[in-house]
């Protein structure tokens, strides 16, 4: 019974997306017709699409306002996000109707075009990221708040140092000392590399764990216990770095998208004033 309910929910989500997409396409078609109609009747199609575009940008910006006003009963953020998503599709189509060239010729208009295109591209990336990164983040065993990742990283490094110091048997200490000092200690102490942050992978993790496993045959039971604990710390640290990389990516995207959105809105308002001033 529970499976059926889950299945129904999945279908419902797909249907909801299909309906939303169909509605968006219908609205775009309607506005396309109105745009052509305005053009055919020698009206001002550029003003029609321009003000529509500006209105779309304002609606898109309202998502940020909604997030900053959680105390007001303005509906769920998820609903606002869905609206944001489809209005984004809509404004992209209106932009294509509005501009004579994808990138305008004048300095300001070219800047405005590029900002719009960057916001649009980042929005589509955000759509992709919001569909993939959360799954990756939840696949990791432990969840961390972003601001506490450094604290967690330090805790893991401290625990690794403490674990290594627990090793009293000389032969085992001799086996692990060099590996710990050359490989494990820098791994636990240092922050992840930029390459890892950009493209997080399991290569580093597999290499360290493989090397630790190779040392097992030279260790007694106590040494193996310590090595196993160090391996657990390696996995924990790698998970943490993975969380860091993905969360940082999402957060950087949000900052990039929001900063450009502010610039875009301001530039669009200036463009509107210029267009009104120079019209006719």
């Amino acid at each position: 019974m529970k499976e059926v309910s889950t299945h129904q929910k999945t279908i419902s989500l797909k249907q909801r997306r299909a309906v939303a997409l169909a509605a968006t396409v219908c609205v775009i078609v309607i506005f396309w017709y109105l745009w052509r109609r305005e053009s055919s009747r020698l009206g001002a199609p550029a003003f029609f699409t321009g003000f529509t575009l500006l209105a779309g940008l304002v609606i898109l910006a309202l998502l940020g306002a909604r997030r900053r006003l959680p105390m007001l009963p303005l509906g769920k953020v998820s609903t606002w996000t869905q609206i944001h998503l489809y209005v984004g599709f809509f404004t992209t189509a209106i932009y294509i109707m509005h501009v004579p060239a994808i990138v305008a010729g004048g300095m300001f208009e070219a800047f405005l075009s590029l900002v719009f295109l960057m916001v649009t591209a980042s929005g589509f990336y955000g759509l992709y990221a919001s569909r993939t990164l959360p799954k990756k983040l939840t696949a990791v065993e432990t969840q961390h708040r972003f601001d506490r990742l450094d604290w967690g990283r330090n805790q893991i490094a401290a625990m690794a140092e403490q674990t290594y110091s627990e090793l009293t048997e000389p032969s085992a200490r001799e086996v692990l000392q060099t590996f710990y000092q050359r490989a494990l200690s820098p791994f636990f102490i240092s922050r992840p590399s930029l390459a890892y942050v950009i493209v997080p992978s399991g290569t580093r993790r597999r290499k360290l764990l493989g090397d630790l496993k190779e040392l097992d045959r030279y260790l007694e039971s106590d040494g193996r216990r310590v090595a196993g604990k160090l391996a657990a710390l390696v996995r924990r640290r790698d998970d943490l770095d993975y969380q860091f990389a993905l969360q940082l990516r999402l957060r950087c995207w949000v900052v990039f998208h929001s900063i450009l959105s502010i610039v875009l809105l301001a530039a669009a308002l200036i463009h509107m004033l210029i267009a009104l001033r120079f019209a006719g």
């Binding site: 020698l42 004579p100 506490r148 657990a232």
Partner: protein, 686 residues
């Protein structure tokens, strides 16, 4: 217990989502370490710094880069870009935008007096006023509303007659125009800033038709028939293609010279008549020398050889002549003669005489009733004015004629070739020969000024043509001249007393009057020119050859008269004038047009056409493919229904009308295109 089961201490508290600061994670005791920025704090800092940087960059750009470079929604179209290429940056925008001459601060303020009521359309017309009438620049098609209403009705009727009103599909759903048709701004149709390749004249069919009440679908299926177009638009040269092709040049029958369209309509580029014309354009009419002279020169000269009077003395009755001092004896008798059109025109300067002239039917004095004292009085008044005219010209020359023309509102510029060719000495000699050299003031009592001795001298001269005139040859048997005062002058009559009889100057004039050439005067000017005809007591002009400047001047002078003026009609009915205007039918219009004007490039018609692209199609290289002359096989109904009606002579065109379907074979959406703007222009020049 699993080896990787790790127990970490709980995370330090004290930080909340949204806080900008938190304790350093490297410290075990949060109170002893400096704070560090949270992600929220770092994000706000990044956003702030970024916006500040953007603002500074924007400020620097505005301060250093010209506004025309910053604000430019797109490149100009090539024609405008070329014109403005040399202008300084600020003037480039201000050429079309009054706002561009103002600072951005003033955008939000009043434009000021200097730009008040100056619209973008005014700036457009600053350059384009030569092509577009300024008073109608914003009216649809640059024509008044009344004209548009007429055209709309004409199109509606044409559509109805074509039976195409119901055809077409989507054109019924074209929305109504968003603009006032009496105030259509230039930018409504001409969209700038679409780049160098942008077509400023690009218009869709829907955009063209949005203002129209009668709308069409495709050209092939729905466009109304155009009936007689392109015929019937008037022409400057009267020419029958039917008779020339089928009667005068029936080459297909006899093997003689074949009628060839290119003889009169050669390629403009190879013709000397169209300098700079592009290859493929067709000359509307070739020169007279190339196309007409071979056949029409001789007949034209014969017709023109009849000549035209400048002045001719009418024959007055004795009662009338008695009132004119020095009126020639040869012009005394029954009231007769014709007041030539040119003479009547010059006499119109006097309103009283003008009224008398209007009472002479067709200028023919012989048609006036006889024995009517009022008629005699009017004739005397006319004759006196003729006498005065000759006297004026004798004394003042060309200016006397110019003044008379100006008094009746005739422009003298076109008449000057006539004046230049007319020697004042001819008038002077006529004055002396006809009226004697005692030119007394005609304001004196006429009867007192009559030189009695003149008539005796003329009548006694054997060599004079008057010797065989009615006055002499009639003899005593002519009852009409019995007791005629002229034949039997009564010296005792106080009316004929003349103190000048004994004047030695009068006596010296006798040899001149006795010298009369036996050769007809007209034969002396075989190559054309002015001459004095003492037989008819007239000064005449004989034309010769094509484009005689004197005839051109006379015709253009009379063309200025109202079409309803009987004098104008009489002048153009003269055979001598008809020699010119029978072919140059438009010479009678104001202003006179002598040469056929090329229709291509003219801006006063909705429909435009160029032969150039069509003649590249091999089948269309044969003119007859489109322009088929009407033959006997074509029914009259076809000719009347289909054919054009010439605007000048209202006779059916000698061409069969063009078939729309014939054009539509190529002009469809898949081939040569069927856009409205392919064949129609929007702006109509006056």
């Amino acid at each position: 217990m699993r080896q990787d089961k790790l127990d970490f201490p709980p995370s330090p508290g004290g930080d909340r989502p949204g806080d900008r600061w938190m304790a350093s994670p490297r410290s075990g005791d949060a109170g002893q370490s400096p704070r560090v920025l949270t992600w929220t704090g770092r994000r706000r800092r990044v956003v702030t710094v970024t916006l500040l940087v953007v603002s500074v960059v924007v400020f620097l750009v505005i301060a250093t880069v010209p506004s025309a470079t910053i604000i430019r929604p797109g490149e100009l179209a090539t024609p405008h870009a070329q014109i403005l290429a040399g202008a300084v940056t600020k003037e480039k925008c201000a050429a079309c935008h009054t706002q561009a001459s103002l600072s951005p601060v003033s955008w939000f303020l009043s434009a000021g007096d200097s730009h008040r009521d100056v619209t973008q359309d005014d700036l457009c017309l600053k350059c384009h006023h030569r092509m577009i009438p300024e008073n109608l620049a914003l009216a649809a098609h640059n024509v008044p509303l009344s004209v548009r209403v007429e055209l709309t009705e004409a199109v509606r009727l044409a559509s109805k007659n074509s039976g195409n009103m119901g055809s077409g599909s989507m054109h019924r759903f074209i929305p109504d125009a968003a603009v006032d048709q009496n105030k259509v701004s230039c930018s409504t149709c001409h969209k700038e800033h679409h780049g160098a390749d942008g077509d400023l004249r690009a218009m869709t069919n829907d955009q063209c038709q949005t203002c129209h009440s009668s709308r069409f679908g495709s050209f092939a299926k729905s466009h109304p028939d155009w009936n007689g177009w392109p015929y019937g638009r008037g022409g400057e040269i009267a020419f029958s293609h039917t008779t020339h092709s089928q009667k005068h040049f029936p080459g297909w029958k006899s093997g003689a010279r074949e009628f060839n369209c290119a003889t009169c309509h050669p390629d403009a580029a190879s013709s000397s008549h169209a300098d700079g014309a592009r290859v493929g354009e067709v000359v509307r009419v070739a020169s007279y020398k190339h196309s007409c002279q071979a056949c029409h020169e001789e007949s034209m000269n014969i017709q023109a050889g009849e000549g035209l009077d400048f002045v001719s003395l009418p024959t007055l009755s004795a009662e009338s002549a008695r009132e004119i001092p020095g009126w020639p004896t040869a012009s005394i008798g029954f009231a007769d003669g014709v007041v030539s059109p040119l003479l009547e025109l010059l006499l119109r300067a006097d309103p009283a005489v003008s009224g008398s002239l209007r009472r002479i039917p067709n200028g023919d004095i012989a048609r006036l009733p006889v024995d009517d004292p009022a008629v005699d009085k009017r004739l005397a008044r006319v004759a006196a004015e003729i006498r005065k005219l000759i006297n004026d010209v004798d004394q003042n020359g060309q200016s006397a004629i110019e003044e008379r023309l100006l008094e009746i509102g005739i422009s003298t510029s076109v008449f000057r070739p006539v004046l230049r060719s007319l020697p004042p000495q001819l008038i002077e000699s006529a004055n002396q020969n006809w009226f004697g050299d005692s030119v007394d003031s005609i304001d004196q009592p006429l009867i007192m000024a009559s030189p009695r001795g003149r008539f005796r001298l003329v009548a006694a001269d054997d060599g004079d043509l008057l010797g065989s005139s009615l006055l002499n040859s009639g003899g005593d048997a002519d009852g009409l001249l019995e007791n005629d005062l002229l034949r039997q002058p009564d010296d005792s009559s106080p009316l004929l007393e003349d103190q000048l009889l004994e004047d030695p100057l009068t006596v010296q004039a006798e040899p001149m009057r006795a010298t009369v050439n036996d050769v007809p005067a007209a034969s002396l000017v075989g190559l054309g020119g002015w001459y004095r005809d003492d037989d008819r007591l007239s000064i005449r002009y004989h034309g010769h050859g094509h484009a005689d400047p004197v005839m051109v001047g006379m015709i253009e002078t009379f063309a200025q008269l109202n079409d309803g003026d009987p004098l104008k009609q009489r002048f153009f009915q003269g055979s001598f004038v008809a020699a010119c205007v029978s072919c140059h039918s438009a010479a009678k219009s104001i202003p006179s047009r002598w040469t056929a004007q090329a229709k291509i490039g003219k801006q006063n018609e909705f429909t435009k056409f160029s032969h150039r692209p069509h003649l590249n199609v091999s089948a269309l290289g044969d003119c007859v493919f489109c322009h088929r002359t009407r033959s006997a096989k074509d029914s009259v109904n076809d000719a009347i229904t289909l054919a054009a009606v010439s605007s000048t002579n209202e006779e059916p065109s000698d061409f069969m009308p063009l078939d729309r379907q014939q054009c539509a074979d190529c002009h469809n959406a898949k081939a040569a295109g069927d856009d409205c703007t392919t064949c129609h222009r929007y702006h109509l020049a006056p």
